[in-house]
């Protein structure tokens, strides 16, 4: 079993011997990993190694890709998410996702946040919804910047604000897990710092998995790091140890910038 993780509580999500195929091509090979509530886990690895693919299997976004196929077990609170009895729409509300490119809806800032709670019936009244929108925007660190223009289009915000809006949109439906796929790769350093700060604040409240291309970012925001290479999970452990004392040569080569 994976070492370092303290087995205090059962993991929020666990993947066991997961294989993912696109048609005949295998993108993920026999990956087993756990995501728990207390730690932010970072997925690192060179381009094309399958980080996004693996992340997308965790909320079944890969279902939408023609020819994608998943083998193995992935559980959320012990329930297999690929079981036919699992409702995929509800799963995606429980396991939220933030994408690489900020993708707010071409609707008002308010409606961007309110959309999820509306379709899941989380608010009984307009006042309820107002409270949900405000608290989501506050937790996304965006409230002070947009509180006077909630009616403006979400697409009129800057890239960094858009990405925080997307994070706010994800947390407005009170998910249990948040998956982020290179959320800062399209942002400037200041906006990136804001998102990283936000991840710090969200930690503990949600189980968070983040894919990143940026070693320093992985070191800054995560407590656990998983290193992928060519579809396999090469090494998985406490972030500080992976960065100071990697066990595998491939990990060492990667984090010292030998390839990427």
């Amino acid at each position: 079993m994976t070492e370092q993780t303290t087995p205090s509580a059962p993991p929020k999500m666990a993947a066991r011997h997961v294989n993912v195929f696109y048609g005949d091509k295998q993108a993920i090979r026999d990956v087993s990993i756990e995501i728990d509530n207390d730690h932010v886990i970072a997925f690192i690895g060179p381009s094309g190694c399958g980080k996004s693919t693996f992340l997308r299997t965790l909320n079944r976004m890969n279902d939408t890709v023609a020819g994608a196929r998943v083998e193995g077990d992935i559980t959320l609170d012990g329930e297999n998410i690929y079981d036919p009895s699992m409702d995929v729409v509800q799963l995606r509300a429980r396991v939220g996702m933030v994408f690489q490119k900020p993708n707010p809806f071409p609707k008002s800032i308010y409606d961007n946040i309110a959309y999820g709670p509306r379709i899941h019936g989380l608010a009984n009244s307009k006042a309820d919804l107002d409270v949900i929108v405000e608290s989501a925007l506050r937790r996304a660190g965006l409230w002070d910047e947009v509180k006077d223009r909630l009616k403006d289009s979400g697409t009129a915000l800057s890239g960094g604000q858009q990405q925080r809006l997307c994070i706010g949109r994800a947390i407005a439906v009170e998910p249990e897990v948040i998956l982020m796929d290179e959320p800062c790769s399209a942002l400037d350093p200041i906006a990136t710092a804001k998102i990283e700060e936000l991840i710090h604040e969200l930690r503990g409240r949600y189980a968070i998995a983040i894919v990143t291309h940026n070693m320093q970012q992985a070191a800054r925001v995560s407590q656990r790091t998983a290193f992928f290479h060519l579809g396999t999970l090469v090494e998985y452990g406490v972030t500080s140890e992976i960065f100071t004392n990697p066990r595998e040569d491939r990990t060492k080569d990667y984090i010292t910038g030998r390839y990427g």
Partner: protein
């Protein structure tokens, strides 16, 4: 000889002379190409604009006079006229019936002869008594006194007034003019009446209403079906041989000549389903068959153009596929779908051939009351009038074309308004 090692070629590389003659020539050539392209583009725009201007000018030139008519002032001395009408009978709704039996045609002819000299009754329209009837109905008090009414001129005089008549008619018109009898007025009946055999009596309203009803049936049928088909094909249907075949068939359907849809309508709607002949319902159904593929193709393209990131975003917070489609994809694709719809509808509005096949070419003298009443449509009406021998129909044909163009303009304006309203930018 082997080629020199790479680093040697690097050192021998001649720096680009950005200011050299060859470069200057290249720049000049680029500017020339730029100018040439602009000129060609401008020329094509001017050419299309020229054709459009020619069409409009010739239509307006020929057709505007169709909206006016020549009227001849005739004095009536009702108390002395050979008619008996009890003004009390004119109260209530059946004034028209009472007046129809009141010998008005004779009264009118006599008044014309008295006012304009012998043969005066030939100078006014044979239906001029209808104008007299309307005048009495609107104001029964004129039966107690003398009144001067403006009556529509006969087709010959009307043509002569527009300098297209025979020498004889021109002479008669000149005499009338000298006597100060004639005037020019807006031809209201043209906008409110239906087809007739006399060109001074025809109206466009019947065909206009027929077109309106036909388009309504077409839109109500082809828009929802076309949009749903496009959504299903884009968002739900698996990609396989069957959907490929459906795609090819739909593309083919959009290019099938319209006459074939007419034959199909004839065979299916009239012969098999026994729907009423000449009705806007059948016309609309036939047009819907023709318009649907256009909407499906435009719709699919518009749906494809919705960025996948929006679908991901919605799916990622737990929207169901139907919610993704109706909350996000459809609203964003709607402007494009509407553009396609309006192109299809404009084509349907101008179609003649398939409607001839299902019997919408009949002579219909009253506007349709509903979608199952016999009717004709604007392009068919234009076709029928252009086929008439009487010269008076020439300007009516052009006037009808102007009405058709205005209809089209109205339809397109609504579409552009809706598109701008729904268009979102991101």
């Amino acid at each position: 000889m082997t080629s020199p090692p790479p680093d040697e070629t690097l050192t021998r590389r001649i720096p680009t002379d950005w200011k050299g003659q060859a470069m200057q020539r290249r720049i000049a050539a680029r500017y020339r190409a730029e100018r040439r392209f602009r000129l060609i583009g401008l020329a094509s725009i001017l050419l299309s604009a020229g054709f459009l201007a020619f069409l409009l000018v010739s239509m307006l030139g020929n057709g505007l006079s169709g909206f006016t008519r020549t009227e001849i002032a005739v004095k009536f001395d009702f108390p002395r006229a050979p008619m008996v009408v009890d003004p009390a009978m004119l109260e209530g709704g059946n004034a028209d019936q009472v007046l129809a039996g009141a010998n008005l045609p004779v009264v009118t002819a006599q008044a014309a002869n008295a006012a304009l000299g012998e043969g005066g009754d030939a100078l006014i329209s044979s239906n001029a008594w209808l104008t007299v009837r309307d005048a009495i109905r609107d104001d029964p008090s004129i039966l107690q006194r003398e009144a001067v009414l403006s009556l529509p001129a006969s087709a010959d005089i009307d043509l002569a007034a527009k300098s297209q008549g025979t020498a004889q008619a021109e002479a008669a018109y000149a005499r009338l003019k000298q006597g100060g009898h004639v005037s020019r007025a807006i031809n209201m009946p043209f906008l409110t009446a239906s087809d007739a055999t006399d060109p001074t009596q025809v109206g466009i309203w019947g065909a206009f209403k027929g077109s309106l009803l036909t388009m309504l049936v077409t839109l109500l049928l082809s828009f929802p079906v076309g949009v749903l088909a496009a959504l299903y094909l884009e968002e739900y249907a698996p990609r396989n041989r069957w959907t490929d075949m459906i795609e090819v068939s739909i593309n083919n359907l959009a290019a099938v000549p319209s006459i074939i849809f007419g034959l199909l309508g004839l065979a299916v709607f009239l012969n098999m389903m026994h729907l009423p002949r000449s009705a806007p319902l059948v016309g609309g159904l036939t047009m819907a068959l023709m318009t649907m593929p256009v909407i499906v193709i435009a719709g699919r393209n518009a749906i494809k153009a919705v960025p996948p990131s929006i679908r991901d975003a919605a799916l990622g917070i737990g929207a169901s596929p139907v919610q993704v489609v109706f909350h996000h994809v459809l609203p964003l694709a709607l402007p494009g779908i509407m553009t396609g719809t309006i192109i299809g509808m404009a084509r349907a509005l101008g179609e003649t051939a398939p409607l001839l096949m299902i019997g919408m070419r009949a002579f219909i003298a009253s506007p349709p009351g509903g979608v199952t009443d016999p009717a004709t449509v604007l392009p068919v009406q234009i076709f029928l009038w252009s086929d008439e021998i009487s010269k008076g129909f020439v300007e009516k044909t052009s006037a009808a074309i102007i009405v058709l163009l205005l209809f089209l303009l109205g339809m397109n304006s609504i579409a552009i308004y809706l598109r701008n309203k729904f268009e979102k930018r991101w």
